[in-house]
Symmetry: C2
Subunit: 198 residues, 2 copies
């Protein structure tokens, strides 16, 4: 059988949608890889450079931004996080499938990338929670957060949910295993894309 390029599986959805669990399970089963992100924050105890993150000083991070080196990047709590285009392209060229768990802004950034390898490999999915009621249940989950915090999460999730029509594929969450069957089916089927053959 001819070799192929990897699939770039881009997954978004609000917290409470279950998207992170889906991505992790895919990676745990060895079906897809996470790329190693870059960050300007300091390593926590036990974190390894090049494994958990590429740790880099802010100047180098900004330099990469200016060079167009990032597929996507964002600032969270004063730290920068980003995914190097070169990192992802290297995996895809080896025929490895890459899963990226990104918010709507990050997904837009990846989609707008002109690199032909990225364009060919890309498939995007939005995972929605089943209902507002169930979303609230999931966001309350830990039971330790104040009503105010839960309401804020709920507001953010509802805001993010508006953007599903930007995505080619959509899963409305039903249950863990049903969702995963669909999720994995999407990856399996994207591997069959004739345009990914080398």
């Amino acid at each position: 059988m001819r070799e192929r390029y990897g699939v770039l599986f881009l997954v978004s959805g609000p917290s409470g949608s279950g998207k992170t669990t889906l991505c992790r399970r895919l990676a745990d089963e060895g079906e897809a890889h996470y790329s190693v992100s870059c960050t300007t924050r300091l390593p926590r105890p036990g974190e390894l450079d090049g494994v958990d993150y590429h740790f880099m000083p802010k100047e180098r991070f900004v330099h990469q931004i200016n060079e167009g080196g990032f597929l996507e990047f964002a600032e969270v709590h004063g730290n920068h996080y980003g995914t190097l285009k070169s990192e992802v392209v290297a995996l895809l060229e080896k025929g490895l499938d890459v899963v990226m768990d990104l918010d709507v802004q990050g997904a837009r950034s990846v989609r707008s990338c002109k690199d032909p390898m990225i364009q060919h490999s890309l498939v995007d999915l939005f995972v929605s929670p089943p209902s507002q009621e169930e979303l609230r249940n999931r966001l309350m989950g830990r039971g330790t957060d104040s009503q105010e915090v839960i309401e804020l999460r709920m507001k953010n999730a509802l805001e993010e949910m508006k953007f599903w029509p930007e995505y080619t594929y959509r899963i409305v969450s039903e249950g863990r295993d049903t969702d995963y069957l669909k999720f994995k089916s999407l990856l399996i089927s994207q591997r069959l894309k004739a345009s990914l053959l080398k």
Copy 2:
């Protein structure tokens, strides 16, 4: 969950690729429907009009051709066969998935259809045999055919195999169950297309 339109699953591949077995299994499992074809040939004993085929006189068939009523049609051994666009669109609008087992010409005809329902629903797949050697084994299968007949089948199959790049998806046949897993995954994933939501 919101309702959706059906997927139109278009499958091609030479004899010996196993595509017909894949399509039948999908239909037998209730995952997709075959549309009822029209034909100008006479019913065989036990065949029911509207179930096995829509039996129609040649004049009506030709009239439908001229009216652009067929999604695809072909002549085989002096008889006409065709699929009515209206028949397929009615199934898709009900949210039923339709599988069509067509040759390269038939697939081109469906792809060129301008009906927005067809355009939205369409996914096309080419099933290739694993190797020329295995193809020959499969085509010899029944063991009752002359060398000449087998060589002709082989020639036709090799000719048809050239057209796989016209298709978005491709399965290179490995084994019955592996192929079916990929095949069904493609259907399952196409159901997730955001553009099919009503």
